[in-house]
C-alpha cells in the first residue's frame, strides 16, 4: 500500500489544493504552515520519497514537540523536510537534530516559548555531514549552500508546524532572530588544529554527530591584527562581555566558533581548547557596575543572591559558570573572523550520534535507505 493510500484512510492527514505553486504557498501561509518563504508542495509522493531514507516505524513519534506537544512522527517530519527543500538523503540528519532537541537538558519547551531570540543551532560533525553536502568552509554560517539551508529549515518548520511555535501564541519571542529561518553549520574538521567537537565529547571520530545549542544570532570577532593567542583571545573576550546576554545569569553554554585562521594562531601558541576555556573564563568578565542599577538590585542582588547579595560593584561577572561550559568549534574559511554565539542561558548543549534503528553506528546516509 502506498503512503497516499494509507494517509487517505486517516482523517485530516491530507489536504487538497490546486496544482499550482502559488496556490500551494498561499494555502500553507493561510494555514500557518510556513516560515514565510515558499515551500516545495509536500505531496504524498514526495513525502514517500523522503521516507525512503528512514529506517524507523513511520508512525511512531520521534518526539513530542512543545508547546503543543504535537507528535512528531517520521511522516509529519518528512512533510516538513519536503517543504524545506531537503533531499531524501538529508532526512536522517533532520531526524537526528530533532532527537537531540528532545534531550531534556536542551529545554525545548523553554526555548520554543520564550521571549528570548534563541533558535536551535545545529552543529554537525563527521563523515555524513560532508556526504550530505554541508558547508564548513567559506560563509559557513551564511547563505547559498543547500544542505545547510534546508536541514536547518526543516527542523525549524517542524518546530513551528508540529510544535505550534507560532509567533504571538506559542513562540513569544519579542523580536526573534533571522537565525530562525535556519542555523545549521558543520565543523571544519580538516582545518581545525584540535579534535573536533564530537571526538572531544567522547564519540568515535568516524561517527556522525549533531550538537544542538539554543543560540542567539552569532556575534562577530574581527581581529586582523593580533599575532598571538593572547591577542586573539583578548578580542574574543571583548566580544563576549556584553550586558544584554542571558549567559551571565544562567549556567548556560555559549559557543565560540573560531575561524580556521584565528584557531591556527591560538594553537600555534600551544593552547589547547581547555587552555582557551580557562583563559576566557578568567578574562571574559564584566564588573558588576556595568549593569544597570535596577538589574544589579533586582536580578543580581535578589535572584542571584548567593553569589552577588553583598558583592562589590567591581566584582567580576563571568560569561559562563565553569570553564568547561564554553563550547568550541572551528568553522568557516579564509579570513580573520570568528563568531561568538550566546545562548538562551537556561539550556545545555545536547549531542546525538547518527545510528541506525538497530543501534549500530551509521557509516553513511545510504545506510538508511529502505530496500
Amino acid at each position: 500500500m502506498s503512503l497516499l493510500d494509507t494517509l487517505q484512510q486517516k482523517p485530516g492527514a491530507l489536504i487538497a489544493c490546486d496544482d499550482d505553486p502559488e496556490a500551494v504557498f498561499d494555502l500553507m501561509c493561510s494555514r500557518g504552515w510556513s516560515d514565510g518563504l515558499p515551500v516545495i508542495p509536500p505531496t504524498a509522493e514526495r513525502v514517500e520519497r523522503m521516507l525512503a531514507y528512514c529506517d524507523r516505524d513511520l508512525d511512531k513519534p520521534v518526539l513530542n514537540i512543545p508547546p503543543r506537544f504535537g507528535a512528531a512522527t517520521p511522516v509529519r517530519i518528512a512533510a516538513n523536510a519536503v517543504m524545506a527543500g531537503c533531499k531524501p538523503e538529508h532526512f536522517p540528519l533532520v531526524l537526528l537534530a530533532l532527537e537531540a532537541l528532545a534531550d531534556e537538558q536542551y529545554n525545548l519547551y523553554g526555548t520554543q516559548a520564550t521571549t528570548h531570540p534563541c533558535t536551535p543551532m545545529l552543529i554537525f560533525n563527521g563523515p555524513a555531514a560532508k556526504e550530505a553536502g554541508l558547508n564548513a568552509g567559506q560563509n559557513a554560517m551564511g547563505n547559498y549552500f543547500r544542505a545547510n539551508a534546508v536541514i536547518g529549515r526543516a527542523v525549524r518548520l517542524a518546530l513551528v508546524n508540529i510544535g505550534a511555535a507560532i509567533p504571538g501564541t506559542g513562540d513569544m519571542a519579542t523580536t526573534g532572530t533571522p537565525a530562525k529561518f535556519t542555523f545549521c553549520v558543520a565543523e571544519n574538521e580538516e582545518q581545525s588544529p584540535w579534535d573536533p567537537l564530537h571526538v572531544e565529547l567522547g564519540f568515535p571520530r568516524e561517527s556522525t554527530a549533531v550538537t544542538v545549542i539554543a543560540a542567539e544570532s552569532p556575534h562577530n570577532v574581527n581581529d586582523h591584527e593580533s599575532l598571538n593567542a593572547e591577542g586573539i583571545l583578548t578580542m574574543v573576550a571583548g566580544t563576549m562581555t556584553i550586558t544584554g546576554s542571558n549567559n551571565p545569569y544562567y549556567a548556560g553554554q555559549p559557543l565560540l566558533a573560531f575561524g580556521p585562521e584565528h584557531a591556527a594562531t591560538v594553537a600555534n601558541d600551544s593552547m589547547s581548547k581547555a587552555d582557551v576555556r580557562q583563559w576566557l573564563f578568567e578574562h571574559a568578565t564584566l564588573p558588576l557596575s556595568r549593569f544597570s542599577k535596577d538589574t544589579i538590585e533586582r536580578r543580581f542582588r535578589r535572584k542571584l543572591a548567593a553569589q552577588y547579595a553583598d558583592a562589590p560593584l567591581d566584582a567580576p561577572v563571568r560569561m559562563f559558570a565553569k570553564p568547561e561550559d564554553l563550547v568550541i568549534i572551528v568553522t568557516g574559511g579564509a579570513g580573520k573572523h570568528s563568531q561568538y554565539v550566546p545562548t538562551f542561558g537556561n539550556t545545555r548543549a545536547a549531542t546525538r550520534v547518527l545510528k541506525r534503528a538497530d543501534g549500530t553506528l551509521a557509516k553513511s546516509l545510504h545506510d538508511f535507505k529502505r530496500n
Partner: protein, 95 residues
C-alpha cells in the same frame, strides 16, 4: 486546474480532554494553589489574584509554591504538593 493532495505538516492536539477535570468544591471552600514562576512581578500579580479570589469565593487555604527558574518546568515535588494540597492552581508570569 487539477488538484493535488498535500500531507498536512502539523499535528493535532492529542488527548486535550485529559487537561480538563471536573472540580467539585466542598463546603469548606477552595484550597487555592499558587505557582510563582519567578518572573520579576509574578509575586505581586499572584498576591492580587489571591485577594481577588478571596473576595469572590470562600477560600479554605492557600499553598504558595515557587519554581527555581521561570524557563524550566516545575519539579515533580512541587507538582505533587499542589496536587495534594490544592483544588485549583493559579500560575502567572509578570515581568
Amino acid at each position: 486546474m487539477g488538484k493535488i493532495f498535500l500531507v498536512v505538516p502539523d499535528a493535532p492536539v492529542e488527548k486535550a480532554e485529559q487537561l480538563n477535570a471536573n472540580r467539585t468544591l466542598g463546603e469548606s471552600g477552595i484550597r487555592l494553589g499558587i505557582l510563582d514562576n519567578t518572573k520579576g512581578n509574578a509575586d505581586h500579580l499572584l498576591n492580587m489574584i489571591i485577594e481577588g479570589v478571596k473576595k469572590e469565593f470562600k477560600v479554605d487555604s492557600v499553598v504558595m509554591t515557587r519554581k527555581a527558574a521561570s524557563s524550566r518546568p516545575a519539579p515533580d515535588a512541587i507538582l505533587d504538593q499542589l496536587a495534594r494540597e490544592a483544588d485549583l492552581v493559579v500560575s502567572a508570569m509578570a515581568d
